[in-house]
Protein backbone atom coordinates (compact mmCIF):
# COMPACT_ATOMS: atom_id res chain seq x y z
CA UNK A 1 0.00 0.00 0.00
CA UNK A 2 1.54 3.25 -1.12
CA UNK A 3 0.81 6.67 -2.51
CA UNK A 4 0.99 7.17 -6.29
CA UNK A 5 0.42 10.15 -8.57
CA UNK A 6 -3.08 8.94 -9.34
CA UNK A 7 -3.90 8.61 -5.65
CA UNK A 8 -2.57 12.09 -5.04
CA UNK A 9 -4.65 13.49 -7.87
CA UNK A 10 -7.75 11.80 -6.50
CA UNK A 11 -7.08 13.52 -3.20
CA UNK A 12 -6.62 16.85 -5.00
CA UNK A 13 -9.98 16.38 -6.73
CA UNK A 14 -11.75 15.63 -3.48
CA UNK A 15 -10.05 18.63 -1.90
CA UNK A 16 -11.34 20.76 -4.76
CA UNK A 17 -14.87 19.54 -4.15
CA UNK A 18 -14.41 20.24 -0.45
CA UNK A 19 -13.14 23.76 -1.16
CA UNK A 20 -16.28 24.47 -3.17
CA UNK A 21 -18.51 23.24 -0.39
CA UNK A 22 -16.60 25.24 2.23
CA UNK A 23 -16.38 28.40 0.06
CA UNK A 24 -18.82 30.55 2.01
CA UNK A 25 -17.76 29.30 5.42
CA UNK A 26 -14.09 30.03 4.74
CA UNK A 27 -14.75 33.46 3.25
CA UNK A 28 -16.79 34.29 6.32
CA UNK A 29 -14.09 33.08 8.70
CA UNK A 30 -11.48 35.17 6.85
CA UNK A 31 -13.88 38.10 6.79
CA UNK A 32 -13.68 38.30 10.57
CA UNK A 33 -9.92 38.70 10.83
CA UNK A 34 -8.60 38.92 7.30
CA UNK A 35 -9.82 40.04 3.90
CA UNK A 36 -12.56 37.47 3.40
CA UNK A 37 -11.06 35.63 0.45
CA UNK A 38 -9.82 32.30 1.80
CA UNK A 39 -12.78 30.42 0.35
CA UNK A 40 -12.73 31.94 -3.10
CA UNK A 41 -8.96 31.59 -3.33
CA UNK A 42 -8.91 27.91 -2.36
CA UNK A 43 -11.81 27.04 -4.61
CA UNK A 44 -10.09 28.58 -7.62
CA UNK A 45 -6.70 27.17 -6.77
CA UNK A 46 -7.84 23.58 -6.26
CA UNK A 47 -10.05 23.70 -9.32
CA UNK A 48 -6.98 24.66 -11.33
CA UNK A 49 -5.01 21.80 -9.77
CA UNK A 50 -7.82 19.31 -10.28
CA UNK A 51 -8.02 20.30 -13.95
CA UNK A 52 -4.44 19.13 -14.60
CA UNK A 53 -3.83 15.86 -16.40
CA UNK A 54 -2.06 13.34 -14.18
CA UNK A 55 -1.30 9.86 -15.42
CA UNK A 56 -1.13 6.79 -13.23
CA UNK A 57 2.41 5.79 -12.52
CA UNK A 58 3.71 9.27 -13.35
CA UNK A 59 6.80 10.47 -11.54
CA UNK A 60 5.59 12.01 -8.26
CA UNK A 61 8.23 14.71 -8.49
CA UNK A 62 6.87 15.73 -11.90
CA UNK A 63 3.31 15.64 -10.61
CA UNK A 64 4.09 17.90 -7.66
CA UNK A 65 6.18 20.14 -9.92
CA UNK A 66 3.17 20.58 -12.19
CA UNK A 67 1.04 21.45 -9.19
CA UNK A 68 3.68 23.91 -7.99
CA UNK A 69 3.77 25.65 -11.35
CA UNK A 70 0.01 25.94 -11.48
CA UNK A 71 -0.08 27.34 -7.95
CA UNK A 72 2.65 29.85 -8.71
CA UNK A 73 0.59 31.28 -11.57
CA UNK A 74 -2.86 30.93 -10.09
CA UNK A 75 -2.57 32.73 -6.78
CA UNK A 76 -0.75 35.45 -4.94
CA UNK A 77 -2.48 35.00 -1.61
CA UNK A 78 -0.42 34.00 1.40
CA UNK A 79 -2.14 30.67 1.95
CA UNK A 80 -1.96 29.97 -1.77
CA UNK A 81 1.75 30.63 -1.82
CA UNK A 82 2.19 28.29 1.16
CA UNK A 83 0.50 25.64 -0.97
CA UNK A 84 3.02 26.46 -3.69
CA UNK A 85 5.82 26.04 -1.18
CA UNK A 86 4.37 22.68 -0.11
CA UNK A 87 4.18 21.49 -3.69
CA UNK A 88 7.75 22.60 -4.43
CA UNK A 89 8.99 20.84 -1.32
CA UNK A 90 7.19 17.63 -2.21
CA UNK A 91 8.40 17.87 -5.80
CA UNK A 92 12.03 17.96 -4.67
CA UNK A 93 11.52 15.20 -2.10
CA UNK A 94 9.76 12.77 -4.47
CA UNK A 95 11.70 13.44 -7.65
CA UNK A 96 12.30 10.22 -9.57
CA UNK A 97 9.89 8.15 -7.52
CA UNK A 98 6.55 6.81 -8.66
CA UNK A 99 5.27 6.00 -5.18
CA UNK A 100 5.92 6.68 -1.53
CA UNK A 101 5.02 4.57 1.45
CA UNK A 102 2.36 5.61 3.91
CA UNK A 103 4.90 5.32 6.65
CA UNK A 104 6.98 8.05 5.01
CA UNK A 105 4.12 10.54 4.78
CA UNK A 106 4.68 12.02 8.22
CA UNK A 107 8.27 12.84 7.36
CA UNK A 108 7.22 14.62 4.17
CA UNK A 109 4.59 16.63 6.00
CA UNK A 110 7.16 17.61 8.63
CA UNK A 111 9.50 18.76 5.86
CA UNK A 112 6.91 20.96 4.22
CA UNK A 113 5.95 22.39 7.60
CA UNK A 114 9.57 23.46 8.02
CA UNK A 115 9.72 24.99 4.57
CA UNK A 116 6.48 26.89 5.18
CA UNK A 117 7.85 28.26 8.43
CA UNK A 118 11.08 29.29 6.78
CA UNK A 119 9.22 31.02 3.94
CA UNK A 120 6.33 32.54 5.77
CA UNK A 121 8.08 33.37 9.01
CA UNK A 122 5.38 31.86 11.20
CA UNK A 123 6.31 30.29 14.52
CA UNK A 124 4.52 27.36 16.06
CA UNK A 125 1.75 28.73 18.23
CA UNK A 126 1.02 31.73 15.99
CA UNK A 127 -2.34 30.12 15.12
CA UNK A 128 -1.84 29.52 11.42
CA UNK A 129 -2.15 26.64 9.04
CA UNK A 130 1.39 25.76 10.07
CA UNK A 131 0.20 24.70 13.52
CA UNK A 132 -2.26 22.39 11.82
CA UNK A 133 0.40 20.85 9.64
CA UNK A 134 2.68 20.43 12.61
CA UNK A 135 0.00 18.52 14.51
CA UNK A 136 -0.72 16.31 11.51
CA UNK A 137 2.98 15.57 10.97
CA UNK A 138 3.24 14.39 14.57
CA UNK A 139 0.07 12.34 14.33
CA UNK A 140 1.25 10.59 11.16
CA UNK A 141 4.42 9.43 12.84
CA UNK A 142 4.17 5.65 12.89
CA UNK A 143 1.06 5.44 10.73
CA UNK A 144 1.61 2.71 8.16
CA UNK A 145 -1.63 2.53 6.19
CA UNK A 146 -4.01 4.89 4.47
CA UNK A 147 -6.71 4.15 7.00
CA UNK A 148 -4.45 4.83 9.90
CA UNK A 149 -3.10 7.99 8.34
CA UNK A 150 -6.61 9.22 7.66
CA UNK A 151 -8.06 8.62 11.09
CA UNK A 152 -5.03 9.96 12.94
CA UNK A 153 -4.67 13.10 10.88
CA UNK A 154 -8.39 13.91 11.03
CA UNK A 155 -8.45 13.52 14.79
CA UNK A 156 -5.31 15.63 15.21
CA UNK A 157 -6.63 18.35 12.93
CA UNK A 158 -9.94 18.64 14.78
CA UNK A 159 -8.24 18.70 18.16
CA UNK A 160 -5.84 21.37 17.02
CA UNK A 161 -8.61 23.57 15.63
CA UNK A 162 -10.45 23.35 18.95
CA UNK A 163 -7.33 24.02 21.00
CA UNK A 164 -6.32 27.08 19.05
CA UNK A 165 -9.78 28.59 18.85
CA UNK A 166 -9.33 30.18 22.26
CA UNK A 167 -5.89 31.58 21.58
CA UNK A 168 -5.07 34.84 19.81
CA UNK A 169 -3.72 35.09 16.25
CA UNK A 170 -0.13 36.23 16.20
CA UNK A 171 0.62 36.65 12.51
CA UNK A 172 -0.10 38.96 9.62
CA UNK A 173 -3.23 40.98 9.40
CA UNK A 174 -5.08 38.87 11.97
CA UNK A 175 -2.40 39.78 14.53
CA UNK A 176 -3.60 43.40 14.40
CA UNK A 177 -6.93 42.33 15.86
CA UNK A 178 -5.19 40.94 18.94
CA UNK A 179 -7.46 39.63 21.67
CA UNK A 180 -10.47 39.98 19.42
CA UNK A 181 -9.33 36.88 17.56
CA UNK A 182 -9.87 34.73 20.66
CA UNK A 183 -12.88 32.52 20.03
CA UNK A 184 -12.49 32.67 16.26
CA UNK A 185 -11.09 29.93 14.02
CA UNK A 186 -8.09 30.88 11.95
CA UNK A 187 -9.31 30.63 8.33
CA UNK A 188 -6.24 28.73 7.16
CA UNK A 189 -6.62 26.16 9.95
CA UNK A 190 -10.32 25.81 9.32
CA UNK A 191 -9.66 25.36 5.61
CA UNK A 192 -7.18 22.61 6.34
CA UNK A 193 -9.77 20.73 8.40
CA UNK A 194 -12.48 21.08 5.77
CA UNK A 195 -10.22 19.98 2.92
CA UNK A 196 -8.82 17.08 4.91
CA UNK A 197 -12.33 15.91 5.74
CA UNK A 198 -13.13 15.84 2.04
CA UNK A 199 -9.91 14.08 1.13
CA UNK A 200 -10.49 11.23 3.58
CA UNK A 201 -14.17 10.88 2.76
CA UNK A 202 -13.05 8.23 0.25
CA UNK A 203 -10.18 5.80 0.67
CA UNK A 204 -6.92 7.61 -0.10
CA UNK A 205 -4.60 4.78 -0.98
CA UNK A 206 -4.92 1.43 -2.59
Amino acid sequence: MSITSLAVHGAIRRAAAGASRAHDELNAADGKLGDGDTGVMLQRLFQALAALDVEDGADLGATFQAYAKTCASATGSSLGTLVTVAMMTLAKATKGRSEIAWSDLGGHVAALRDQMMARGGANLGDKTVVDMIDAVALALDGASSGEEAASRSVAAARDTLAQFRNRPNRLGRARMFGEKTIGLDDPGMLAFVRLLDSVVAEPVGR
Binding site: D37, S78, T81, T84, G121
Partner: protein, 329 residues
Protein backbone atom coordinates in the same frame (compact mmCIF):
# COMPACT_ATOMS: atom_id res chain seq x y z
CA UNK B 1 -19.72 51.47 -2.51
CA UNK B 2 -21.37 50.73 -5.81
CA UNK B 3 -18.90 49.96 -8.54
CA UNK B 4 -18.73 50.78 -12.22
CA UNK B 5 -17.57 47.37 -13.38
CA UNK B 6 -18.54 44.19 -15.18
CA UNK B 7 -17.92 40.75 -13.61
CA UNK B 8 -15.91 41.09 -10.38
CA UNK B 9 -13.54 38.39 -11.64
CA UNK B 10 -12.71 40.54 -14.65
CA UNK B 11 -12.04 43.68 -12.59
CA UNK B 12 -8.25 43.63 -12.60
CA UNK B 13 -7.76 42.41 -16.15
CA UNK B 14 -10.21 44.94 -17.59
CA UNK B 15 -8.60 47.68 -15.53
CA UNK B 16 -5.21 46.78 -16.98
CA UNK B 17 -6.64 46.72 -20.50
CA UNK B 18 -7.89 50.25 -20.01
CA UNK B 19 -4.69 51.44 -18.39
CA UNK B 20 -2.48 50.43 -21.31
CA UNK B 21 -5.05 51.59 -23.85
CA UNK B 22 -4.97 55.06 -22.29
CA UNK B 23 -1.22 55.08 -21.69
CA UNK B 24 0.72 53.66 -24.60
CA UNK B 25 4.01 54.14 -22.74
CA UNK B 26 2.99 51.09 -20.70
CA UNK B 27 3.15 47.54 -21.98
CA UNK B 28 1.08 44.76 -20.50
CA UNK B 29 2.16 41.13 -20.41
CA UNK B 30 -0.55 39.18 -18.57
CA UNK B 31 -0.26 40.31 -14.96
CA UNK B 32 2.73 42.57 -15.31
CA UNK B 33 3.13 46.09 -16.66
CA UNK B 34 6.49 47.30 -17.91
CA UNK B 35 7.83 50.35 -19.68
CA UNK B 36 8.09 50.21 -23.43
CA UNK B 37 11.87 50.21 -23.17
CA UNK B 38 12.31 47.67 -20.38
CA UNK B 39 14.69 46.04 -19.79
CA UNK B 40 17.22 48.85 -20.22
CA UNK B 41 20.60 47.29 -20.85
CA UNK B 42 23.22 48.28 -18.30
CA UNK B 43 20.73 49.85 -15.88
CA UNK B 44 19.69 48.38 -12.56
CA UNK B 45 16.05 47.36 -12.83
CA UNK B 46 13.46 48.48 -10.28
CA UNK B 47 10.41 46.27 -9.83
CA UNK B 48 7.48 46.49 -7.51
CA UNK B 49 4.23 44.68 -7.09
CA UNK B 50 1.25 44.24 -4.89
CA UNK B 51 -2.49 43.95 -4.81
CA UNK B 52 -4.77 45.95 -7.07
CA UNK B 53 -7.16 48.62 -5.84
CA UNK B 54 -4.54 51.21 -4.90
CA UNK B 55 -4.05 53.14 -8.15
CA UNK B 56 -1.87 55.01 -8.97
CA UNK B 57 0.01 52.50 -6.76
CA UNK B 58 1.64 50.19 -7.73
CA UNK B 59 1.63 49.88 -11.47
CA UNK B 60 0.87 53.52 -12.17
CA UNK B 61 4.45 54.34 -11.23
CA UNK B 62 5.95 52.35 -14.06
CA UNK B 63 7.83 54.90 -16.12
CA UNK B 64 11.17 56.50 -16.75
CA UNK B 65 13.05 57.40 -13.59
CA UNK B 66 10.69 55.20 -11.55
CA UNK B 67 9.72 51.53 -11.90
CA UNK B 68 10.74 49.37 -14.85
CA UNK B 69 8.08 46.74 -14.23
CA UNK B 70 5.37 45.81 -11.78
CA UNK B 71 3.66 42.54 -10.80
CA UNK B 72 -0.06 42.87 -10.27
CA UNK B 73 -2.25 40.89 -7.92
CA UNK B 74 -6.00 40.72 -7.54
CA UNK B 75 -7.65 43.43 -5.50
CA UNK B 76 -5.91 43.57 -2.10
CA UNK B 77 -4.11 40.27 -2.86
CA UNK B 78 -0.46 39.67 -3.61
CA UNK B 79 0.83 39.12 -7.14
CA UNK B 80 1.45 35.48 -7.97
CA UNK B 81 4.96 34.07 -7.83
CA UNK B 82 4.81 33.69 -11.61
CA UNK B 83 4.02 37.42 -12.01
CA UNK B 84 6.88 38.34 -9.71
CA UNK B 85 9.20 36.18 -11.83
CA UNK B 86 8.01 37.84 -15.04
CA UNK B 87 8.34 41.34 -13.61
CA UNK B 88 11.89 40.73 -12.43
CA UNK B 89 12.84 39.27 -15.81
CA UNK B 90 11.25 42.20 -17.61
CA UNK B 91 13.30 44.64 -15.52
CA UNK B 92 16.64 42.88 -15.73
CA UNK B 93 19.05 44.73 -17.98
CA UNK B 94 22.02 42.69 -16.79
CA UNK B 95 22.90 44.78 -13.73
CA UNK B 96 20.47 43.16 -11.35
CA UNK B 97 17.06 44.08 -10.04
CA UNK B 98 15.86 45.79 -6.88
CA UNK B 99 12.57 44.37 -5.57
CA UNK B 100 10.88 47.30 -3.87
CA UNK B 101 7.44 46.66 -2.39
CA UNK B 102 5.38 46.93 0.75
CA UNK B 103 6.03 44.81 3.81
CA UNK B 104 3.13 42.37 3.62
CA UNK B 105 3.67 38.68 4.42
CA UNK B 106 2.21 37.26 1.23
CA UNK B 107 4.07 39.66 -1.06
CA UNK B 108 7.33 38.85 0.69
CA UNK B 109 6.92 35.12 0.19
CA UNK B 110 6.06 35.61 -3.46
CA UNK B 111 8.92 37.96 -4.29
CA UNK B 112 11.36 35.83 -2.28
CA UNK B 113 10.34 32.66 -4.07
CA UNK B 114 10.55 34.45 -7.40
CA UNK B 115 14.02 35.73 -6.61
CA UNK B 116 15.24 32.25 -5.74
CA UNK B 117 13.78 30.73 -8.87
CA UNK B 118 15.67 33.36 -10.88
CA UNK B 119 18.98 32.85 -9.14
CA UNK B 120 19.46 29.84 -11.40
CA UNK B 121 18.97 32.18 -14.37
CA UNK B 122 21.77 34.32 -12.98
CA UNK B 123 19.63 37.37 -12.20
CA UNK B 124 20.90 39.14 -9.10
CA UNK B 125 18.15 40.58 -6.91
CA UNK B 126 18.00 42.64 -3.75
CA UNK B 127 15.05 43.68 -1.63
CA UNK B 128 13.90 46.89 0.04
CA UNK B 129 10.56 46.79 1.83
CA UNK B 130 8.29 49.76 2.37
CA UNK B 131 7.82 49.99 6.16
CA UNK B 132 6.67 53.57 6.62
CA UNK B 133 3.36 53.12 8.50
CA UNK B 134 4.19 54.15 12.07
CA UNK B 135 0.77 53.06 13.30
CA UNK B 136 1.34 49.44 12.33
CA UNK B 137 4.06 48.64 14.89
CA UNK B 138 6.19 50.48 17.45
CA UNK B 139 9.56 52.09 16.70
CA UNK B 140 11.35 49.14 18.34
CA UNK B 141 9.66 46.78 15.87
CA UNK B 142 10.09 49.01 12.83
CA UNK B 143 10.83 45.96 10.68
CA UNK B 144 7.28 44.74 11.24
CA UNK B 145 5.72 47.95 9.94
CA UNK B 146 3.60 47.85 6.84
CA UNK B 147 4.31 49.90 3.76
CA UNK B 148 1.86 52.61 2.75
CA UNK B 149 2.07 55.89 0.80
CA UNK B 150 5.70 56.60 1.62
CA UNK B 151 6.77 53.95 -0.87
CA UNK B 152 6.17 56.51 -3.59
CA UNK B 153 9.21 58.40 -2.35
CA UNK B 154 11.21 55.17 -2.38
CA UNK B 155 10.20 54.60 -6.01
CA UNK B 156 11.42 58.07 -6.91
CA UNK B 157 14.74 57.68 -5.12
CA UNK B 158 15.39 54.18 -6.48
CA UNK B 159 14.37 55.10 -10.02
CA UNK B 160 16.53 58.22 -10.08
CA UNK B 161 19.51 56.40 -8.60
CA UNK B 162 19.23 53.62 -11.18
CA UNK B 163 18.87 56.17 -13.97
CA UNK B 164 22.13 57.76 -12.82
CA UNK B 165 23.90 54.49 -13.49
CA UNK B 166 24.49 53.36 -9.91
CA UNK B 167 25.06 49.65 -9.36
CA UNK B 168 22.64 47.34 -7.57
CA UNK B 169 24.30 47.63 -4.18
CA UNK B 170 24.30 51.44 -4.35
CA UNK B 171 20.69 51.64 -5.53
CA UNK B 172 19.65 49.26 -2.77
CA UNK B 173 21.53 51.13 -0.08
CA UNK B 174 20.25 54.57 -1.02
CA UNK B 175 16.69 53.28 -1.35
CA UNK B 176 16.83 51.54 2.02
CA UNK B 177 18.10 54.76 3.57
CA UNK B 178 15.17 56.64 2.01
CA UNK B 179 12.70 54.15 3.48
CA UNK B 180 14.42 54.54 6.84
CA UNK B 181 14.03 58.33 6.54
CA UNK B 182 10.31 58.16 5.75
CA UNK B 183 7.34 57.99 8.10
CA UNK B 184 3.62 57.85 7.32
CA UNK B 185 0.41 57.94 9.29
CA UNK B 186 -3.13 57.78 7.96
CA UNK B 187 -6.69 58.40 9.05
CA UNK B 188 -9.76 56.68 7.63
CA UNK B 189 -13.31 58.03 7.42
CA UNK B 190 -15.12 55.40 5.42
CA UNK B 191 -14.64 51.90 4.11
CA UNK B 192 -14.27 50.33 0.70
CA UNK B 193 -15.51 47.13 -0.82
CA UNK B 194 -13.51 44.52 -2.73
CA UNK B 195 -15.29 43.84 -6.07
CA UNK B 196 -17.65 40.92 -5.60
CA UNK B 197 -17.34 40.94 -1.81
CA UNK B 198 -20.62 40.80 0.04
CA UNK B 199 -19.64 43.41 2.61
CA UNK B 200 -17.31 46.39 2.99
CA UNK B 201 -13.77 45.61 4.17
CA UNK B 202 -14.58 47.19 7.53
CA UNK B 203 -17.26 49.33 9.12
CA UNK B 204 -16.96 52.73 10.72
CA UNK B 205 -19.67 54.95 12.15
CA UNK B 206 -21.18 57.84 10.21
CA UNK B 207 -19.54 60.35 12.51
CA UNK B 208 -16.31 58.51 13.22
CA UNK B 209 -12.67 58.74 12.23
CA UNK B 210 -9.95 56.20 12.89
CA UNK B 211 -6.38 57.31 13.50
CA UNK B 212 -3.69 55.04 12.13
CA UNK B 213 -5.86 52.69 10.11
CA UNK B 214 -4.07 50.80 7.33
CA UNK B 215 -4.93 50.97 3.65
CA UNK B 216 -6.77 47.65 3.74
CA UNK B 217 -8.66 48.61 6.87
CA UNK B 218 -6.10 47.23 9.31
CA UNK B 219 -7.05 48.50 12.80
CA UNK B 220 -5.40 51.70 13.94
CA UNK B 221 -4.66 53.56 17.16
CA UNK B 222 -7.98 55.05 18.14
CA UNK B 223 -11.44 55.60 16.79
CA UNK B 224 -13.58 58.53 17.85
CA UNK B 225 -16.01 61.13 16.55
CA UNK B 226 -14.75 63.32 13.75
CA UNK B 227 -13.03 66.53 14.85
CA UNK B 228 -11.69 69.59 13.01
CA UNK B 229 -8.97 68.72 10.51
CA UNK B 230 -6.49 71.09 12.18
CA UNK B 231 -6.63 69.00 15.35
CA UNK B 232 -6.26 65.81 13.34
CA UNK B 233 -3.30 67.13 11.38
CA UNK B 234 -1.66 68.38 14.57
CA UNK B 235 -1.85 64.92 16.09
CA UNK B 236 -0.60 63.25 12.92
CA UNK B 237 2.36 65.62 12.66
CA UNK B 238 3.15 65.19 16.35
CA UNK B 239 3.16 61.42 15.93
CA UNK B 240 5.36 61.60 12.85
CA UNK B 241 7.88 63.89 14.50
CA UNK B 242 7.94 61.80 17.67
CA UNK B 243 9.08 58.75 15.71
CA UNK B 244 12.87 58.92 15.40
CA UNK B 245 14.63 58.55 12.05
CA UNK B 246 18.32 57.61 11.83
CA UNK B 247 19.42 60.98 10.43
CA UNK B 248 16.84 63.70 11.05
CA UNK B 249 16.89 66.77 8.83
CA UNK B 250 15.31 70.20 8.88
CA UNK B 251 14.60 69.82 5.17
CA UNK B 252 11.73 67.46 4.50
CA UNK B 253 9.38 66.56 1.70
CA UNK B 254 5.79 65.80 2.58
CA UNK B 255 3.06 63.86 0.80
CA UNK B 256 -0.56 64.59 1.74
CA UNK B 257 -2.37 61.68 0.14
CA UNK B 258 -6.04 60.90 -0.44
CA UNK B 259 -7.13 57.33 0.20
CA UNK B 260 -9.62 57.71 -2.63
CA UNK B 261 -12.91 59.46 -1.98
CA UNK B 262 -11.44 62.34 0.01
CA UNK B 263 -11.43 65.25 -2.45
CA UNK B 264 -8.57 67.55 -3.33
CA UNK B 265 -10.30 70.42 -1.52
CA UNK B 266 -9.92 68.61 1.80
CA UNK B 267 -6.34 67.61 1.04
CA UNK B 268 -5.41 71.24 0.48
CA UNK B 269 -7.12 72.30 3.71
CA UNK B 270 -5.04 69.63 5.44
CA UNK B 271 -1.84 70.60 3.61
CA UNK B 272 -2.30 74.21 4.69
CA UNK B 273 -2.12 73.08 8.31
CA UNK B 274 0.69 70.59 7.66
CA UNK B 275 2.79 73.40 6.21
CA UNK B 276 1.98 75.71 9.11
CA UNK B 277 2.88 73.08 11.70
CA UNK B 278 6.09 71.96 10.05
CA UNK B 279 7.24 75.52 9.58
CA UNK B 280 6.54 76.37 13.19
CA UNK B 281 8.60 73.32 14.19
CA UNK B 282 11.50 74.65 12.15
CA UNK B 283 11.20 72.46 9.06
CA UNK B 284 11.51 73.59 5.49
CA UNK B 285 9.26 71.77 3.01
CA UNK B 286 10.76 70.74 -0.32
CA UNK B 287 8.67 69.55 -3.30
CA UNK B 288 5.45 68.77 -1.45
CA UNK B 289 3.01 66.35 -3.04
CA UNK B 290 -0.74 66.71 -2.54
CA UNK B 291 -3.16 64.35 -4.25
CA UNK B 292 -4.30 60.77 -4.64
CA UNK B 293 -0.99 58.86 -4.86
CA UNK B 294 -1.85 55.68 -2.95
CA UNK B 295 -5.53 54.88 -2.60
CA UNK B 296 -7.90 52.14 -1.55
CA UNK B 297 -10.60 52.53 -4.16
CA UNK B 298 -13.53 54.49 -2.70
CA UNK B 299 -12.17 54.64 0.84
CA UNK B 300 -12.29 58.13 2.39
CA UNK B 301 -9.36 59.30 4.44
CA UNK B 302 -5.88 60.64 4.00
CA UNK B 303 -2.32 60.02 5.00
CA UNK B 304 0.67 62.22 5.64
CA UNK B 305 4.16 61.00 4.72
CA UNK B 306 7.28 62.81 5.83
CA UNK B 307 10.62 62.21 4.12
CA UNK B 308 13.74 63.55 5.78
CA UNK B 309 16.19 64.78 3.16
CA UNK B 310 19.91 64.96 2.71
CA UNK B 311 21.60 66.57 -0.26
CA UNK B 312 21.66 63.38 -2.32
CA UNK B 313 18.06 62.45 -1.59
CA UNK B 314 16.95 65.97 -2.45
CA UNK B 315 18.77 65.82 -5.78
CA UNK B 316 17.23 62.41 -6.55
CA UNK B 317 13.79 63.79 -5.75
CA UNK B 318 14.38 66.60 -8.23
CA UNK B 319 15.64 64.29 -11.00
CA UNK B 320 13.36 63.92 -14.02
CA UNK B 321 10.78 61.16 -14.05
CA UNK B 322 7.72 60.46 -16.13
CA UNK B 323 4.85 58.09 -15.54
CA UNK B 324 1.11 58.54 -16.11
CA UNK B 325 0.58 59.93 -12.61
CA UNK B 326 3.75 61.76 -11.68
CA UNK B 327 6.10 63.81 -13.73
CA UNK B 328 9.15 65.79 -12.70
CA UNK B 329 11.01 67.69 -15.39
Amino acid sequence: MKKLMNAPDAFVNEMLDGLVAAHPTLVREDRIIRTRHAPVAGKVGIVSGGGSGHLPLFTGYVGSGLLDACAIGDVFAGPSVASCVSAIKAADGGKGVLRLYGNYGGDRMNFDLAGELLEMDGIATTTVLGTDDIASAGAQEAGKRRGVAGIVYAYKIAGAMAARGADLAEVTEVTQAAVDACRTIGVALSSCRIPGAAAPSFTIGDDEIEMGMGIHGEPGIWRDTLRPIDEIVDEMIARLLADPVPVPSARVSVLVNSLGATPLEELFIAYRRVAQRLKSEGYEIVRPLVGPYVTSMEMAGMSISLLHLDAEREALLAAPCDCPFWRVS
